[in-house]
Amino acid sequence: SQQGEEDPQALSIQEGENATMNCSYKTSINNLQWYRQNSGRGLVHLILIRSNEREKHSGRLRVTLDTSKKSSSLLITASRAADTASYFCATVSSASKIIFGSGTRLSIRP
């Protein structure tokens, strides 16, 4: 199975609500990255958190990393219709091996 497993697989929320997605992984990492994908094409990098960091913010995004539990979460606050997309976590090992999870499909209801 994939190194990174996102949870939930699909999430539907009302516009304005917060969305939380989780990612769990199995082996040690150098960093963990979150990406967004619209319409099944190219991915867009959202945020990178290093293994020695616990929390990072970027605009409406907040990422946490718990290396003891081998898990990360992505929080999108005050969601908008444009946030509808698939979100993927990607773990990067010290050997630069990168593994993507299966993704969370987020739908924002107007």
């Binding site: 190219g42 991915l43 867009v44 990178l48 990067v92 630069s96 993704g103």
Partner: protein, 114 residues
Amino acid sequence: GAGVSQSPSNKVTEKGKDVELRCDPISGHTALYWYRQRLGQGLEFLIYFQGNSAPDKSGLPSDRFSAERTGESVSTLTIQRTQQEDSAVYLCASSLVLASYEQYFGPGTRLTVT
């Protein structure tokens, strides 16, 4: 500046034919990755190039798949004797040095094998 480009954007081919997919990374990016994404699925790592080092081919699913990269520029992914199971979007990404940095993705090539 220009981002990662891929060509063709769509490719329909008959089972058994060979296909070649192209990726032009961002200038100056030494790391280049190829991924495969089946419909509704996550990304499958295929191969990774880093500068002049030997590529990491550990993700290539069979010997029908191969990839080359000329220096730190264009890369081509070749699939020989295509099978219907090869139908997917093939994504290329580049990053400045290593995967410690963010990856910039191209729009992908949608391959359909009939």
